[in-house]
Amino acid sequence: MGIKWDEFFITGDPLILGAQISIALTMIGIVFGLTYLKKWNWLWTEWITTVDHKRIGIMYIISAVLMFFRGGVDGLLMKAQTSRPEMEFLSSQHYNEIFTTHGVIMILFMAMPFLIGLMNVVVPLQIGARDVAFPQLNALSFWLFFSGAMLFNISFVIGGSPDAGWTSYFPLAGKEFSPSIANNYYAIALQIAGIGTLMTGINFIVTILKMRTKGMTLMRMPMFTWTTLITSVIIIAAFPIFTVALALMTFDRLFGTHFFTVSGGGMDMLWANLFWLWGHPEVYIVALPAFGIFSEVIATFSRKSLFGYKSMVYAIVGIALLSMLVWVHHFYTMGSGPAVNSFFSITTMLIAVPTGIKMFNWLFTMRKGRIKMTTAMLWSLAFVPCFTIGGVTGVMLAMGAADYQYHNTLFLVAHFHYVLIPGVVFAVFAGLYYWWPKMFGHLLNEKLGKWHFWLFVIGFNVTFMPMFFLGLSGAARRTYTFSAESGFAPLFLLSAMGSIVLAAGFAVFCYNIYWSLRYADRNISSDPWDARTLEWATATPVQHYNFAKLPEVKSLDAFWFMKKNNEGLTLKDSEIEEIHMPSNSGQPFIMCVLFGISGFFLVFEWSIAAAVAALGIFAGLIYRSFDYNDGYHIPVDEVRETELSWRNKKGEAHKHVS
């Protein structure tokens, strides 16, 4: 197949050389460290082969934090490049690669896995279940995401980064204008990760519909579980569209078909439509679970149940339906005519209605409450004003005729960062501070947490607020530089300075994780926040079978009322039974490797090698079909011992709230 070794590794750029060296050193460091500490076996049995939803969740979150770092560095590099007019820090080609990988990584490999990670950790606990419906499939979902993410991430050192924007519009992304293999990475890595996401969607729908504990009707589910359910429905509705679009893209790029090309009667507008048919729902896939997190955190720290629970549920269902009907707002300027643009302007603006309902319900949850300013709550509070700005600018963009002036400008970039950062990043931070003890048995440091919070929130506003004005002054997005005469320089500089503060906030966050892992107090109660939902009704950190006895639910905010009425908190010895759990499996990881290899060959257009590797995937599928491993049972003694060890600690949850 004639490998062109001279083109294989990306060379010639000191930044990339630095990255290559640091990647190599990190890898050597990891291998050496694991060997030195004799941790290979631990890594394999405890983590890589695990099917435990909590551990899978933690692996998702770790990956997401790493991807946040990568995407954040991309963001900072862009801000450095545009901090002064005519900067020559990055070339235009390099800038193009960086905003492309930044967008893809932030949305698909940071926001999604972060939220899916929290969903994994929390949802089975919230519904009083011992695991998700299909634990091994869940592990496969994670490993496919991981495979796709790693494949995408190596692109900048091997083969070349995709450079056609996260939207990858045709014909630019086709072979006619991008003949290098770089954009194959986009088509194939996202395809692999997307399959994993689709399976997550199926898994959570089944889990939530079939595995709720006794008494938990749909209308007694915690709001985060509701949003996870609806998100999963959107995933199932939207991801297949992306799968098809990426497959067509792959055909165009690898085999010379003409779905989206200029020549041969291709239709570039078709790609734009397919992309946004998935892409818009995608933003709600990341926004809805985030809304769920805020709902939990705000209710807990206001010591009140969620205001207007029912209308919150209707609102998310409404948002989900509308989210499928608005995709054209991403290209009003394509000239589809005033009737089409009017229709989509109206559907888009209508999304503001359910979103407004949620906003007011959150505000009224806090009213008459007793608002405790923990770090988790601060993130939720900052969300309200920041997201409002994102929301009102969203309505402005929704107005088709006005969008002719905002479209493709930094106004738009500012808007979606004002939606995605408060809506998703603040949410995952809130969720992390809130649920951290559930995962690791200690709190994150609150004092460092507040530093993290203030630096990040101030930095965020200073970075992105100027972009609104730059956009209105005519600054187009994705331009790697600007002239001094344009008059953009002061605002660009302000924005760049903001991003340094933002980065400082992120650094404090990383330090906080490190500090807390080492020094935080391990002697905490299983319910440190005096919370309301079932995930707090068991040990902290959670034992691997979750609940010795599945709790019974009599109302919304079940755990709150269990504490209040002092019932269902204790466990009688006679209630302890054997617990059936699924066995670990190495198959998902092996599939990850096979998908990765096969995908890598396909990226380099070595079709035969890819086909051979794909045979391995089929072999894996066949092997799995004949796998009758039915799990194992935890003996009563072991359960008793585990339960005694946490239930007898001082200050445990026998206490009730008055």
């Binding site: 200029v262 010591r303 205001f307 300027t333 009017s342 300013m373 009102v392 479209h407 507040k450």
Partner: protein, 333 residues
């Protein structure tokens, strides 16, 4: 509490940033023609409503967070059980719906208006300019005057200009913010729009849709002139500018940055890229500057295949009109 004071501070900071922002000249708020003005009016209308929303939400937020924050003296306050309020929920559903209606009506009105010659200019004879986007330059053809320019366009003031947009390559967006909103220029199809400049002046135009390595350089100048100056310019061009040949044109479409060019004829004589049966002017080989190179494909309809597809591809044959598959606004002509 300390943290609450910070919240107030942040909220106070936001309008401050707004004010510093207003010092730069925001072209969207300084429209130089009726089309841009229609949009600016719409934006101002929406800003007023949005400001209202922001003020209501921010004050409610500030009030609630301040009043109900946990303090040492309210630690024994236990919040009431409360599940919602139908009246309140109806209010905050209804009011946003009313706001949406208030925004929808002028939006739809503007969307329809922007498709037509602006009001008050209906009886002025429009000038047609074919705009062809290429990597990384803009080509302007004046069929009525029989001239062609690259990277700049002169127009007469107070005259509706009928822009017909297409692309010889990637998807691009034609935008002159001072005169009006943008629209995509796409290969093998045509979009159109009307713009008018009130007064003589020079306006920046650009491509706002990312299209590869040379994207940032895709700016052009639109110079609005008095009618006399414009006519004089046409005469001068016809007398002094060279003729564009097909070979030169093919060279011109390659991915390059060019300065300004002027010709005394138009490329529409031999190709109209808006025609869906026109040849494809792509050169994948010229884009090999990054990473590991993949395979590219020979295309039958490529302009370099002189043998195939020899029959004349003129842009006004009857046959073409029958074949225009995609109707509506995107049609070939």
């Amino acid at each position: 509490m300390k943290s609450t004071r910070f919240v107030v501070l942040i909220i106070a900071l936001i309008p401050m940033i707004f004010l510093t922002g207003c010092e730069t000249n925001m072209v969207v708020f300084e429209p130089q023609g009726p089309v841009a003005r229609t949009i600016t009016d719409l934006i101002n209308w929406s800003l007023a409503w949005m400001l209202l929303v922001v003020v209501v939400v921010f004050s409610l937020f500030g009030y609630i967070v301040w009043k109900y924050r946990e303090r040492p003296d309210n630690m024994d306050y236990e919040p009431p059980e409360e599940h919602g309020s139908t009246v309140l929920e109806i209010i905050w559903t209804a009011i946003p719906i009313l706001i949406v209606i208030a925004l929808t009506i002028p939006t739809v009105q503007a969307l329809y208006d922007l498709e037509e010659v602006p009001e008050g200019y209906e009886d002025k004879e429009p000038i047609t300019i074919h705009v062809t986007a290429a990597d990384w330059k803009w080509i302007f053809s004046y069929p009525e005057q029989g001239i062609e320019t690259v990277n700049y366009a002169n127009i007469p003031e107070d005259t509706p200009i009928h822009f017909k947009l297409t692309s010889a390559s990637t998807m691009q967006s034609f935008w002159i913010p001072a005169l009006g909103g943008q629209k995509y220029a796409m290969a093998k199809m045509e979009t159109e729009m009307y713009l008018v400049a009130d007064n003589p002046g020079s306006y920046v135009g650009k491509n706002s849709n990312f299209n590869g390595r040379g994207y940032a350089g895709m700016e052009f100048e639109v110079l609005a002139q008095t009618h006399e100056d414009f006519n004089q310019w046409i005469t001068d061009v016809k007398e002094t500018a060279p003729e564009l040949t097909e070979e030169e044109y093919e060279e011109l479409l390659k991915p390059t940055h060019l300065g300004r060019l002027t010709y005394a004829n138009t490329h529409l004589e031999w190709v109209d890229h808006a025609n869906m049966h026109s040849k494809t002017y792509t050169n994948p080989e010229l884009y090999r500057y990054h990473g590991y190179q993949g395979k590219t494909f020979e295309e039958e309809d490529n302009y370099r295949n002189k043998e195939t597809n020899l029959e004349h591809n003129g842009h006004h044959s009857d046959e073409d009109d029958e074949h225009e598959g995609h109707g509506g606004e995107h049609d070939g002509h």
